[in-house]
Symmetry: C2
Subunit: 230 residues, 2 copies
Amino acid sequence: MAGIDPSLVRALPLFSKLSAAELDMLLEQATLRRFAVGEAVFEQGAAATQFFLLLHGRLKVTQVTADGQQIIVRMVHPGDIFGFAKALQRDDYPGTPTASAESVVICWPTQVWDLFIEKNPHLAVNAMQTIGQRLQEAHTRIREMATEEVERRVAHAVLRLIIQAGKTESAGIRIDFPISRQDIAEMTGTTLHTVSRILSAWEAKGLVKGGRQKLLVRDATALRELAEGD
Amino acid sequence: MAGIDPSLVRALPLFSKLSAAELDMLLEQATLRRFAVGEAVFEQGAAATQFFLLLHGRLKVTQVTADGQQIIVRMVHPGDIFGFAKALQRDDYPGTPTASAESVVICWPTQVWDLFIEKNPHLAVNAMQTIGQRLQEAHTRIREMATEEVERRVAHAVLRLIIQAGKTESAGIRIDFPISRQDIAEMTGTTLHTVSRILSAWEAKGLVKGGRQKLLVRDATALRELAEGD
DNA sequence: GATACTGCTTGCGCCAACGCAACGATACTG
DNA sequence: CAGTATCGTTGCGTTGGCGCAAGCAGTATC
Protein backbone atom coordinates (compact mmCIF):
# COMPACT_ATOMS: atom_id res chain seq x y z
CA MET A 1 0.00 0.00 0.00
CA ALA A 2 2.65 2.49 -1.09
CA GLY A 3 2.06 6.04 -2.24
CA ILE A 4 0.85 7.91 0.80
CA ASP A 5 -0.43 11.42 0.21
CA PRO A 6 2.44 13.80 1.14
CA SER A 7 -0.02 16.35 2.46
CA LEU A 8 -0.64 14.06 5.42
CA VAL A 9 2.88 14.57 6.78
CA ARG A 10 4.05 17.75 5.10
CA ALA A 11 3.18 19.90 8.11
CA LEU A 12 5.19 17.83 10.59
CA PRO A 13 8.33 19.54 11.90
CA LEU A 14 10.24 16.29 11.47
CA PHE A 15 9.92 16.60 7.69
CA SER A 16 9.89 20.36 7.47
CA LYS A 17 13.23 20.66 5.71
CA LEU A 18 12.80 17.87 3.20
CA SER A 19 12.26 18.62 -0.45
CA ALA A 20 9.14 17.32 -2.18
CA ALA A 21 11.22 14.74 -4.02
CA GLU A 22 12.86 13.49 -0.85
CA LEU A 23 9.53 13.25 0.90
CA ASP A 24 8.06 11.30 -1.99
CA MET A 25 10.95 8.89 -1.89
CA LEU A 26 10.44 8.40 1.84
CA LEU A 27 6.73 7.81 1.48
CA GLU A 28 7.19 5.31 -1.32
CA GLN A 29 8.76 2.94 1.16
CA ALA A 30 5.97 3.32 3.68
CA THR A 31 2.89 1.32 4.51
CA LEU A 32 -0.28 2.51 6.18
CA ARG A 33 -1.89 0.47 8.94
CA ARG A 34 -4.98 0.87 11.07
CA PHE A 35 -5.40 -0.28 14.67
CA ALA A 36 -8.54 -0.79 16.70
CA VAL A 37 -8.75 0.10 20.40
CA GLY A 38 -6.72 -2.37 22.44
CA GLU A 39 -4.60 -3.59 19.52
CA ALA A 40 -0.81 -3.38 19.82
CA VAL A 41 1.35 -2.01 17.00
CA PHE A 42 4.16 -4.29 18.18
CA GLU A 43 5.12 -6.15 21.33
CA GLN A 44 7.80 -5.34 23.87
CA GLY A 45 10.86 -7.47 23.13
CA ALA A 46 9.98 -8.14 19.48
CA ALA A 47 12.66 -7.65 16.82
CA ALA A 48 12.72 -4.05 15.65
CA THR A 49 12.08 -4.39 11.92
CA GLN A 50 10.11 -1.20 11.43
CA PHE A 51 9.70 2.31 12.74
CA PHE A 52 6.50 4.29 12.79
CA LEU A 53 4.69 7.57 12.75
CA LEU A 54 1.27 8.09 14.28
CA LEU A 55 -0.99 9.87 11.83
CA HIS A 56 -4.23 9.76 13.71
CA GLY A 57 -5.49 8.39 17.01
CA ARG A 58 -3.67 7.81 20.27
CA LEU A 59 -1.31 5.17 21.61
CA LYS A 60 -0.07 4.37 25.09
CA VAL A 61 3.39 2.85 25.38
CA THR A 62 3.58 0.39 28.25
CA GLN A 63 6.35 -1.64 29.82
CA VAL A 64 5.81 -4.67 31.99
CA THR A 65 8.16 -5.53 34.80
CA ALA A 66 9.44 -9.03 35.50
CA ASP A 67 6.79 -9.46 38.21
CA GLY A 68 3.97 -8.41 35.92
CA GLN A 69 3.43 -4.82 36.99
CA GLN A 70 2.67 -2.44 34.18
CA ILE A 71 3.53 1.22 33.69
CA ILE A 72 2.79 3.70 30.95
CA VAL A 73 6.08 5.05 29.66
CA ARG A 74 4.47 7.73 27.54
CA MET A 75 1.58 8.57 25.27
CA VAL A 76 2.04 8.81 21.51
CA HIS A 77 0.16 11.68 19.91
CA PRO A 78 -0.56 12.35 16.23
CA GLY A 79 2.64 13.46 14.47
CA ASP A 80 4.96 11.62 16.85
CA ILE A 81 7.39 9.04 15.59
CA PHE A 82 7.88 5.92 17.67
CA GLY A 83 9.47 2.51 17.61
CA PHE A 84 12.78 3.71 16.19
CA ALA A 85 14.69 1.29 18.38
CA LYS A 86 17.30 0.62 15.70
CA ALA A 87 18.32 4.25 15.70
CA LEU A 88 18.98 3.85 19.38
CA GLN A 89 21.21 0.86 18.81
CA ARG A 90 18.67 -1.66 19.99
CA ASP A 91 17.52 -4.78 18.19
CA ASP A 92 14.22 -5.10 19.98
CA TYR A 93 11.47 -2.74 21.03
CA PRO A 94 11.62 -1.65 24.67
CA GLY A 95 7.85 -1.23 25.11
CA THR A 96 4.44 -2.04 23.70
CA PRO A 97 2.35 0.68 22.01
CA THR A 98 -1.35 -0.06 22.34
CA ALA A 99 -4.14 1.90 20.69
CA SER A 100 -6.19 3.88 23.22
CA ALA A 101 -8.31 5.11 20.36
CA GLU A 102 -8.74 3.98 16.77
CA SER A 103 -5.38 4.81 15.20
CA VAL A 104 -3.67 5.13 11.82
CA VAL A 105 0.05 4.55 11.59
CA ILE A 106 2.70 4.94 8.88
CA CYS A 107 5.27 2.11 8.92
CA TRP A 108 8.78 2.06 7.46
CA PRO A 109 11.32 -0.76 7.37
CA THR A 110 14.25 0.11 9.64
CA GLN A 111 16.79 0.11 6.79
CA VAL A 112 15.14 3.26 5.47
CA TRP A 113 16.22 5.08 8.62
CA ASP A 114 19.95 4.73 8.10
CA LEU A 115 19.59 5.50 4.44
CA PHE A 116 17.75 8.71 5.05
CA ILE A 117 19.88 9.90 7.90
CA GLU A 118 22.89 9.44 5.69
CA LYS A 119 21.37 11.39 2.83
CA ASN A 120 19.63 13.98 4.89
CA PRO A 121 21.35 15.51 7.90
CA HIS A 122 18.30 17.66 8.64
CA LEU A 123 16.34 14.58 9.46
CA ALA A 124 19.04 13.48 11.87
CA VAL A 125 19.03 16.84 13.60
CA ASN A 126 15.25 16.86 13.83
CA ALA A 127 15.16 13.32 15.12
CA MET A 128 17.77 14.15 17.71
CA GLN A 129 15.74 17.08 18.91
CA THR A 130 12.71 14.84 19.18
CA ILE A 131 14.60 12.32 21.27
CA GLY A 132 16.13 15.14 23.26
CA GLN A 133 12.74 16.51 24.17
CA ARG A 134 11.66 13.07 25.21
CA LEU A 135 14.72 12.75 27.39
CA GLN A 136 13.84 15.96 29.11
CA GLU A 137 10.27 14.89 29.65
CA ALA A 138 11.62 11.72 31.19
CA HIS A 139 13.88 13.69 33.52
CA THR A 140 10.98 15.89 34.52
CA ARG A 141 8.99 12.83 35.37
CA ILE A 142 11.85 11.36 37.39
CA ARG A 143 12.13 14.59 39.32
CA GLU A 144 8.41 14.62 39.99
CA MET A 145 8.35 11.03 41.14
CA ALA A 146 11.30 11.64 43.42
CA THR A 147 10.14 14.83 45.07
CA GLU A 148 6.39 15.25 44.77
CA GLU A 149 3.57 13.46 46.46
CA VAL A 150 0.93 11.61 44.55
CA GLU A 151 -1.71 14.32 44.31
CA ARG A 152 0.70 16.78 42.69
CA ARG A 153 2.02 14.13 40.34
CA VAL A 154 -1.50 13.35 39.18
CA ALA A 155 -2.15 17.06 38.73
CA HIS A 156 0.95 17.36 36.55
CA ALA A 157 -0.04 14.32 34.52
CA VAL A 158 -3.52 15.68 33.87
CA LEU A 159 -2.12 19.09 32.91
CA ARG A 160 0.22 17.42 30.45
CA LEU A 161 -2.70 15.50 29.01
CA ILE A 162 -4.77 18.60 28.40
CA ILE A 163 -1.81 20.21 26.64
CA GLN A 164 -1.26 17.22 24.39
CA ALA A 165 -4.81 16.04 23.97
CA GLY A 166 -7.09 18.76 25.30
CA LYS A 167 -10.23 19.73 23.40
CA THR A 168 -11.90 22.88 24.67
CA GLU A 169 -15.62 22.50 25.28
CA SER A 170 -18.16 24.83 26.79
CA ALA A 171 -17.86 23.18 30.22
CA GLY A 172 -14.05 23.02 30.23
CA ILE A 173 -11.24 21.10 28.57
CA ARG A 174 -11.87 17.50 27.69
CA ILE A 175 -9.20 14.85 27.28
CA ASP A 176 -9.71 13.74 23.76
CA PHE A 177 -9.33 9.98 24.08
CA PRO A 178 -10.56 7.26 26.44
CA ILE A 179 -8.45 7.23 29.58
CA SER A 180 -9.10 5.14 32.66
CA ARG A 181 -8.16 5.71 36.30
CA GLN A 182 -5.84 2.75 35.88
CA ASP A 183 -4.07 4.54 33.01
CA ILE A 184 -3.50 7.65 35.10
CA ALA A 185 -2.22 5.45 37.93
CA GLU A 186 0.27 3.80 35.59
CA MET A 187 1.41 7.19 34.35
CA THR A 188 2.06 8.53 37.83
CA GLY A 189 3.35 5.49 39.63
CA THR A 190 0.47 4.94 42.00
CA THR A 191 -2.64 2.78 42.26
CA LEU A 192 -6.04 2.92 40.66
CA HIS A 193 -7.56 3.41 44.10
CA THR A 194 -5.51 6.45 45.01
CA VAL A 195 -6.23 8.10 41.66
CA SER A 196 -9.92 7.46 42.10
CA ARG A 197 -9.88 9.05 45.54
CA ILE A 198 -7.97 12.09 44.30
CA LEU A 199 -10.27 12.63 41.34
CA SER A 200 -13.31 12.26 43.56
CA ALA A 201 -11.93 14.94 45.86
CA TRP A 202 -11.23 17.21 42.89
CA GLU A 203 -14.71 16.65 41.55
CA ALA A 204 -16.16 17.63 44.93
CA LYS A 205 -14.17 20.86 44.69
CA GLY A 206 -15.37 21.48 41.15
CA LEU A 207 -11.92 21.14 39.56
CA VAL A 208 -12.79 18.28 37.24
CA LYS A 209 -15.69 16.19 36.06
CA GLY A 210 -15.08 12.47 35.83
CA GLY A 211 -16.79 9.67 33.99
CA ARG A 212 -16.12 6.22 32.68
CA GLN A 213 -12.85 6.60 30.76
CA LYS A 214 -13.59 10.29 30.54
CA LEU A 215 -12.07 13.34 32.12
CA LEU A 216 -13.08 16.97 31.82
CA VAL A 217 -11.01 19.70 33.44
CA ARG A 218 -13.25 22.54 34.62
CA ASP A 219 -10.64 24.71 36.32
CA ALA A 220 -7.18 24.35 34.79
CA THR A 221 -5.83 27.33 36.74
CA ALA A 222 -6.69 25.81 40.11
CA LEU A 223 -5.18 22.54 38.95
CA ARG A 224 -2.00 24.33 37.96
CA GLU A 225 -1.79 25.94 41.39
CA LEU A 226 -2.22 22.53 42.93
CA ALA A 227 0.54 21.10 40.75
CA GLU A 228 3.01 23.75 41.86
CA GLY A 229 3.04 23.58 45.64
CA ASP A 230 0.65 26.16 47.18
CA MET B 1 44.50 26.37 25.01
CA ALA B 2 43.88 24.69 21.64
CA GLY B 3 45.60 21.61 20.29
CA ILE B 4 44.46 18.76 22.47
CA ASP B 5 46.23 15.47 21.96
CA PRO B 6 43.96 13.33 19.72
CA SER B 7 45.03 10.19 21.54
CA LEU B 8 42.96 11.35 24.50
CA VAL B 9 39.70 10.91 22.62
CA ARG B 10 40.57 8.58 19.78
CA ALA B 11 39.27 5.55 21.59
CA LEU B 12 35.81 6.99 22.29
CA PRO B 13 32.99 5.40 20.29
CA LEU B 14 31.56 8.85 19.62
CA PHE B 15 34.55 9.69 17.45
CA SER B 16 35.28 6.22 16.17
CA LYS B 17 34.33 6.94 12.57
CA LEU B 18 36.05 10.28 12.22
CA SER B 19 39.16 10.61 10.10
CA ALA B 20 42.34 11.94 11.71
CA ALA B 21 41.92 15.23 9.85
CA GLU B 22 38.32 15.63 11.02
CA LEU B 23 39.27 14.88 14.57
CA ASP B 24 42.09 17.42 14.46
CA MET B 25 39.73 20.04 13.17
CA LEU B 26 37.30 19.29 15.98
CA LEU B 27 39.98 19.45 18.62
CA GLU B 28 41.34 22.75 17.34
CA GLN B 29 38.15 24.41 18.45
CA ALA B 30 38.26 22.91 21.91
CA THR B 31 39.43 24.10 25.29
CA LEU B 32 40.54 22.05 28.24
CA ARG B 33 39.34 22.89 31.73
CA ARG B 34 39.94 21.43 35.16
CA PHE B 35 37.44 21.34 38.04
CA ALA B 36 38.02 20.76 41.73
CA VAL B 37 35.63 18.76 43.88
CA GLY B 38 32.43 20.72 44.43
CA GLU B 39 32.93 23.04 41.46
CA ALA B 40 30.19 23.29 38.83
CA VAL B 41 30.96 23.18 35.11
CA PHE B 42 27.90 25.34 34.49
CA GLU B 43 24.71 26.27 36.32
CA GLN B 44 21.18 25.09 35.67
CA GLY B 45 19.34 27.74 33.65
CA ALA B 46 22.49 29.36 32.25
CA ALA B 47 22.69 30.09 28.53
CA ALA B 48 23.99 27.05 26.65
CA THR B 49 27.07 28.45 24.92
CA GLN B 50 29.21 25.33 25.07
CA PHE B 51 29.02 21.58 25.10
CA PHE B 52 31.42 19.26 26.84
CA LEU B 53 33.14 15.91 27.11
CA LEU B 54 34.39 14.48 30.38
CA LEU B 55 37.95 13.26 29.96
CA HIS B 56 38.78 12.34 33.50
CA GLY B 57 37.05 12.43 36.87
CA ARG B 58 33.36 12.24 37.75
CA LEU B 59 30.42 14.63 37.67
CA LYS B 60 26.95 14.49 39.16
CA VAL B 61 24.21 16.29 37.29
CA THR B 62 21.64 17.76 39.67
CA GLN B 63 18.36 19.57 39.24
CA VAL B 64 16.72 21.68 41.91
CA THR B 65 12.98 21.95 42.20
CA ALA B 66 11.14 25.22 42.80
CA ASP B 67 10.91 24.43 46.51
CA GLY B 68 14.62 23.74 46.83
CA GLN B 69 14.70 19.96 46.78
CA GLN B 70 17.58 18.47 44.86
CA ILE B 71 17.85 15.30 42.81
CA ILE B 72 20.69 13.70 40.89
CA VAL B 73 19.57 13.28 37.31
CA ARG B 74 22.57 11.18 36.35
CA MET B 75 26.30 10.70 36.79
CA VAL B 76 28.75 11.69 34.06
CA HIS B 77 31.58 9.23 33.55
CA PRO B 78 34.82 9.64 31.60
CA GLY B 79 34.09 9.56 27.85
CA ASP B 80 30.54 10.89 28.21
CA ILE B 81 29.46 14.04 26.43
CA PHE B 82 27.17 16.40 28.33
CA GLY B 83 25.66 19.85 28.21
CA PHE B 84 24.64 19.61 24.54
CA ALA B 85 21.42 21.47 25.26
CA LYS B 86 21.50 23.29 21.93
CA ALA B 87 21.34 20.01 20.07
CA LEU B 88 18.16 19.33 21.97
CA GLN B 89 16.66 22.63 20.91
CA ARG B 90 17.16 24.31 24.27
CA ASP B 91 18.80 27.63 24.94
CA ASP B 92 19.68 26.93 28.54
CA TYR B 93 21.12 24.01 30.47
CA PRO B 94 18.52 21.89 32.27
CA GLY B 95 20.81 20.83 35.14
CA THR B 96 24.02 21.57 36.99
CA PRO B 97 27.04 19.23 36.63
CA THR B 98 29.19 19.32 39.75
CA ALA B 99 32.55 17.61 40.16
CA SER B 100 32.38 14.68 42.59
CA ALA B 101 36.06 14.10 42.00
CA GLU B 102 38.79 16.23 40.45
CA SER B 103 37.76 16.38 36.78
CA VAL B 104 39.10 17.36 33.37
CA VAL B 105 36.68 18.49 30.70
CA ILE B 106 36.91 19.33 26.99
CA CYS B 107 34.76 22.32 26.02
CA TRP B 108 33.44 23.31 22.59
CA PRO B 109 31.40 26.32 21.56
CA THR B 110 27.89 25.21 20.56
CA GLN B 111 28.25 26.45 16.98
CA VAL B 112 30.76 23.66 16.39
CA TRP B 113 28.03 21.12 16.99
CA ASP B 114 25.81 22.09 14.05
CA LEU B 115 28.83 22.44 11.84
CA PHE B 116 30.08 18.99 12.56
CA ILE B 117 26.74 17.26 12.42
CA GLU B 118 26.23 18.78 9.01
CA LYS B 119 29.60 17.64 7.75
CA ASN B 120 29.67 14.33 9.47
CA PRO B 121 26.53 12.20 9.61
CA HIS B 122 28.38 9.54 11.61
CA LEU B 123 28.67 11.91 14.50
CA ALA B 124 24.93 12.58 14.34
CA VAL B 125 24.16 8.88 14.39
CA ASN B 126 26.54 8.28 17.28
CA ALA B 127 25.17 11.21 19.22
CA MET B 128 21.65 9.98 18.65
CA GLN B 129 22.56 6.57 19.98
CA THR B 130 24.09 8.17 23.03
CA ILE B 131 20.95 10.19 23.72
CA GLY B 132 18.86 7.13 22.97
CA GLN B 133 20.68 5.11 25.57
CA ARG B 134 20.18 7.87 28.05
CA LEU B 135 16.49 7.93 27.27
CA GLN B 136 16.28 4.25 27.98
CA GLU B 137 18.13 4.60 31.23
CA ALA B 138 15.66 7.31 32.17
CA HIS B 139 12.74 5.04 31.36
CA THR B 140 14.27 2.26 33.40
CA ARG B 141 14.56 4.62 36.31
CA ILE B 142 10.97 5.78 35.92
CA ARG B 143 9.82 2.19 35.92
CA GLU B 144 11.84 1.44 39.03
CA MET B 145 10.55 4.45 40.88
CA ALA B 146 7.00 3.60 39.94
CA THR B 147 7.01 -0.07 40.81
CA GLU B 148 9.82 -0.89 43.22
CA GLU B 149 10.26 -0.12 46.85
CA VAL B 150 13.17 1.86 48.17
CA GLU B 151 15.51 -0.98 49.09
CA ARG B 152 15.37 -2.48 45.60
CA ARG B 153 15.83 0.93 44.00
CA VAL B 154 18.92 1.51 46.10
CA ALA B 155 20.20 -1.92 45.14
CA HIS B 156 19.74 -1.11 41.46
CA ALA B 157 21.47 2.24 41.86
CA VAL B 158 24.48 0.65 43.58
CA LEU B 159 24.69 -2.05 40.91
CA ARG B 160 24.68 0.61 38.22
CA LEU B 161 27.44 2.45 40.06
CA ILE B 162 29.70 -0.57 40.22
CA ILE B 163 29.21 -1.13 36.49
CA GLN B 164 30.06 2.45 35.63
CA ALA B 165 32.59 3.18 38.33
CA GLY B 166 33.54 -0.10 39.95
CA LYS B 167 37.15 -0.86 40.77
CA THR B 168 37.80 -4.44 41.78
CA GLU B 169 39.80 -4.81 44.98
CA SER B 170 40.72 -7.83 47.04
CA ALA B 171 37.83 -7.27 49.43
CA GLY B 172 35.24 -6.60 46.72
CA ILE B 173 34.27 -3.88 44.25
CA ARG B 174 34.85 -0.30 45.29
CA ILE B 175 32.99 2.68 43.90
CA ASP B 176 35.73 4.75 42.46
CA PHE B 177 34.73 8.26 43.54
CA PRO B 178 33.47 9.92 46.72
CA ILE B 179 29.76 9.26 47.11
CA SER B 180 27.67 10.16 50.13
CA ARG B 181 24.48 8.65 51.50
CA GLN B 182 22.82 11.88 50.50
CA ASP B 183 23.95 11.34 46.88
CA ILE B 184 22.47 7.87 46.79
CA ALA B 185 19.26 9.24 48.29
CA GLU B 186 19.04 11.86 45.55
CA MET B 187 19.63 9.20 42.91
CA THR B 188 16.85 6.95 44.17
CA GLY B 189 14.26 9.47 45.29
CA THR B 190 14.43 8.84 48.99
CA THR B 191 16.04 10.37 52.08
CA LEU B 192 19.51 10.21 53.50
CA HIS B 193 18.10 8.49 56.58
CA THR B 194 16.47 5.66 54.71
CA VAL B 195 19.60 5.04 52.65
CA SER B 196 21.68 4.96 55.81
CA ARG B 197 19.37 2.42 57.42
CA ILE B 198 19.40 0.24 54.31
CA LEU B 199 23.17 0.30 53.99
CA SER B 200 23.55 -0.48 57.69
CA ALA B 201 21.30 -3.49 57.28
CA TRP B 202 23.30 -4.62 54.23
CA GLU B 203 26.53 -4.17 56.12
CA ALA B 204 25.20 -6.35 58.95
CA LYS B 205 24.46 -9.03 56.35
CA GLY B 206 27.94 -8.69 54.86
CA LEU B 207 26.73 -7.41 51.49
CA VAL B 208 28.61 -4.12 51.58
CA LYS B 209 31.14 -2.21 53.60
CA GLY B 210 30.38 1.47 54.14
CA GLY B 211 32.44 4.44 55.18
CA ARG B 212 32.48 8.20 54.92
CA GLN B 213 31.73 8.90 51.25
CA LYS B 214 32.91 5.37 50.52
CA LEU B 215 31.18 2.21 49.45
CA LEU B 216 32.58 -1.25 48.87
CA VAL B 217 30.38 -4.04 47.52
CA ARG B 218 31.39 -7.38 48.98
CA ASP B 219 28.71 -9.59 47.47
CA ALA B 220 27.46 -8.31 44.13
CA THR B 221 25.54 -11.51 43.44
CA ALA B 222 23.46 -11.23 46.59
CA LEU B 223 22.84 -7.58 45.78
CA ARG B 224 21.66 -8.52 42.33
CA GLU B 225 19.25 -11.06 43.78
CA LEU B 226 17.95 -8.40 46.09
CA ALA B 227 17.49 -5.99 43.19
CA GLU B 228 15.38 -8.49 41.25
CA GLY B 229 12.59 -9.54 43.58
CA ASP B 230 13.56 -12.55 45.73
C1' DG C 1 45.59 18.74 69.75
C1' DA C 2 41.38 21.35 70.72
C1' DT C 3 37.47 23.34 67.64
C1' DA C 4 34.53 23.28 64.17
C1' DC C 5 32.61 20.96 60.31
C1' DT C 6 30.58 17.70 57.71
C1' DG C 7 28.82 13.24 57.03
C1' DC C 8 26.78 8.93 59.18
C1' DT C 9 23.79 6.34 62.42
C1' DT C 10 19.73 5.28 65.12
C1' DG C 11 15.42 5.72 67.80
C1' DC C 12 10.70 7.09 67.69
C1' DG C 13 6.20 8.91 66.31
C1' DC C 14 3.38 9.78 62.41
C1' DC C 15 0.98 9.89 58.08
C1' DA C 16 0.38 9.21 53.07
C1' DA C 17 -0.60 5.78 50.33
C1' DC C 18 -1.21 0.81 49.58
C1' DG C 19 -3.80 -3.49 49.59
C1' DC C 20 -7.92 -5.82 50.39
C1' DA C 21 -12.67 -6.09 49.89
C1' DA C 22 -17.21 -5.13 48.78
C1' DC C 23 -20.29 -2.55 46.33
C1' DG C 24 -22.13 0.73 42.37
C1' DA C 25 -22.36 2.29 37.82
C1' DT C 26 -21.87 2.22 33.02
C1' DA C 27 -21.14 0.08 28.69
C1' DC C 28 -21.25 -4.12 25.63
C1' DT C 29 -23.64 -8.55 23.93
C1' DG C 30 -26.71 -11.54 22.05
C1' DC D 1 -33.48 -6.06 28.23
C1' DA D 2 -31.58 -9.30 31.22
C1' DG D 3 -26.68 -10.90 31.65
C1' DT D 4 -21.96 -10.00 31.85
C1' DA D 5 -17.79 -7.70 31.79
C1' DT D 6 -15.35 -3.71 32.74
C1' DC D 7 -14.55 0.36 35.21
C1' DG D 8 -15.09 3.29 39.20
C1' DT D 9 -15.98 4.38 44.21
C1' DT D 10 -15.43 4.04 49.10
C1' DG D 11 -14.34 2.11 53.76
C1' DC D 12 -10.89 0.25 56.71
C1' DG D 13 -6.74 -1.72 58.54
C1' DT D 14 -1.78 -1.82 57.71
C1' DT D 15 2.78 -0.22 56.78
C1' DG D 16 6.83 1.66 54.41
C1' DG D 17 9.36 5.25 54.72
C1' DC D 18 9.50 10.21 56.10
C1' DG D 19 10.69 13.88 59.39
C1' DC D 20 12.50 15.19 63.68
C1' DA D 21 15.98 14.95 66.93
C1' DA D 22 19.96 13.65 69.28
C1' DG D 23 24.31 11.66 69.28
C1' DC D 24 28.55 9.79 67.06
C1' DA D 25 32.72 9.59 64.11
C1' DG D 26 35.89 10.84 60.82
C1' DT D 27 38.25 15.16 58.46
C1' DA D 28 39.90 19.62 58.01
C1' DT D 29 41.54 24.22 60.29
C1' DC D 30 44.35 26.95 62.94
